[in-house]
């Protein structure tokens, strides 16, 4: 007990409280003195153009990653659930990307999309699309989204497959006897029954897109070109570690904490409800 409490206090609460305190102060350029500034850091951050851009990028990025990774995973899990005997084999073939570091996933897809020798950029060139993610912001965003989907899909696949296999076969058989085809069965029985799993995964995918993808973005686009792939966490890193703007980055930390806190709260309410009704 005591060791974990100590670790948590020193490496969690101390930093969190420092962030809270720093977010209320303004440091001078040499880090020698600081003055109390109230909410000035927050208003400065919230009013800045670059924060709005990062917020927008994060929204686009998380929604695309969550929908893409969950959609593909649900499709593959539904198929794997059909072919029961072989589903374990497919599971092995599909879960390993989870073990690949987000940073490494970024490098793999950066190679596929390399403007001069990437397989996919050549295929695109053959279709008449000029591909250079180093110059085109939309293409850079597409690159990191694809790399993140590739990595996160396996996580969703595990949960969807477990959810699907938990659906009683008798329900589906009854529907089949009543004349419901596979398509109809999926939308009227399977889909509603796995909606708790989907909701849980939506929150987890959002958290993944917010935080874990830092490595993906840093190894491939470094937030560029021109800030096109700069997400909230990437901006926090650039302002705080590279730019040494302590007050501003602390305010961003606190804002991010609030966002995650909100997500966790939503998640909890849902967990509680599930415990009560199932």
């Amino acid at each position: 007990m005591a060791p974990q409490l100590l670790i948590v206090l020193v490496f969690f609460f101390w930093p969190a409280i420092t962030a809270l305190r720093q977010s209320l102060y303004v440091q001078d350029a040499f880090g020698l003195g600081e003055t109390f500034a109230g909410l000035a850091n927050f208003t400065r951050v919230l009013a800045s153009q670059s924060y709005h851009e990062a917020l927008f990028n994060t929204a686009i990025f998380s929604v695309s990653v969550a929908l893409g990774a969950m959609g593909i995973a649900l499709l593959l899990a539904t198929m794997a659930d059909r072919v029961l005997r072989a589903s374990r084999v497919y599971r092995t073939l599909l879960i390993w990307p989870y073990a690949v570091a987000p940073a490494a996933a970024g490098v793999l897809w950066m190679f596929m999309f390399d403007p001069t020798l990437g397989v996919l950029s050549r295929a695109l060139a053959a279709l008449g699309v000029h591909w250079d993610f180093r110059l085109n912001g939309h293409q850079a965003m597409a690159l990191v989204i694809i790399a993140a989907i590739w990595q996160q899909m396996s996580y969703n696949f595990v949960f969807f497959l477990a959810g699907l296999q938990g659906i009683p076969a008798s329900l589906l058989e009854a529907a089949a006897i009543d004349g419901a085809g596979p398509w109809r069965r999926f939308w009227t029985i399977t889909f509603p029954l796995i909606s708790p799993t989907s909701f849980f995964l939506l929150v987890m995918n959002t958290i993944y897109a917010f935080f874990d993808t830092f490595g993906t973005i840093d190894t491939t686009t470094s937030g560029g070109p021109g800030g096109a792939t700069r997400t909230l966490v990437y901006k926090l890193y650039q302002d705080g570690i590279v730019g040494l703007d302590l007050g501003g980055s602390a305010a961003q930390s606190v804002l991010l904490m609030l966002m995650v806190g909100l997500l966790t709260l939503v998640q909890f309410r849902y967990v509680e409800r599930r415990v009560q009704y199932h």
Partner: protein, 281 residues
Amino acid sequence: MRYHRPNLDVLAHTILIIGALIFMLPVVLAVLASTQTPGALFSGTLPLWFGGSGLEHYLTLLSEPVRGVGVPAWQLMLNSLLMALGIAIGKLVFAILAAYALVFFRFPFRRCCFWLIFVTLMLPIEVRIVPTYGVVADLGLLDSYPGLVLPLIASATATFLFRQFFMTLPPELMEAARVDGAGPWRFFIDILLPLSRTNIAALFVIMFIYGWNQYLWPLVAMSSADHATVVMSLKRLTISMDGTPPWHLATAMTVLALLPPVVVIVLMQRWFIKGLVDTEK
């Protein structure tokens, strides 16, 4: 019978096989590219089979200092291994002890302790990266193994899982042990630990992968090459002045970085699935 449709099964297999191939494609291409000579790779034709360099790039990376990093890749891999093991074992030890205290002992502020640990679930290290750096710097732990590992141990997932598990054990178990004269320590070693074996294995796999794949924290806190990890060093090979990175080395390095955790996940799949599904419940 309507329920069983063979041609749908064929469709399912087709989609799954295509899916599995697409997911494998980036790694296969990286492995192939890593065996090409730079000349063949940059000549412009698509290399679709193993190239002439064989394992040469891997041996170069492992034995000579990596460009932009300063130490050979074997040392980076060793650091990654130490970090992953440190995080996995550290988290397990702290978590199991904390859960033991929370479930089996009554002490003042027990609920308060529980909530203190509990809120850490919410915040990944990326959010508190700047102040954490400050704290670790104040403690003089930058560029050291404790500095690399300790801040990443501060999390509650594992504590939770063990707490849940301990609470499912019947109280009679502890009473029986007490009647037989076993003290709290004895009960922990001889009864709780053996019962938790599967949970420990499952969590170990998850935490090992989590630890190995850490990127931002080592990048920020480990500025000297002696403590650099393989994942955080990937970027040194993908940035370049003239636009095109040295892909023959970058792909080889990526393969080195992803191989150990992928091997772990494939070999220990059963534990991994259990760990993944359990930690999120």
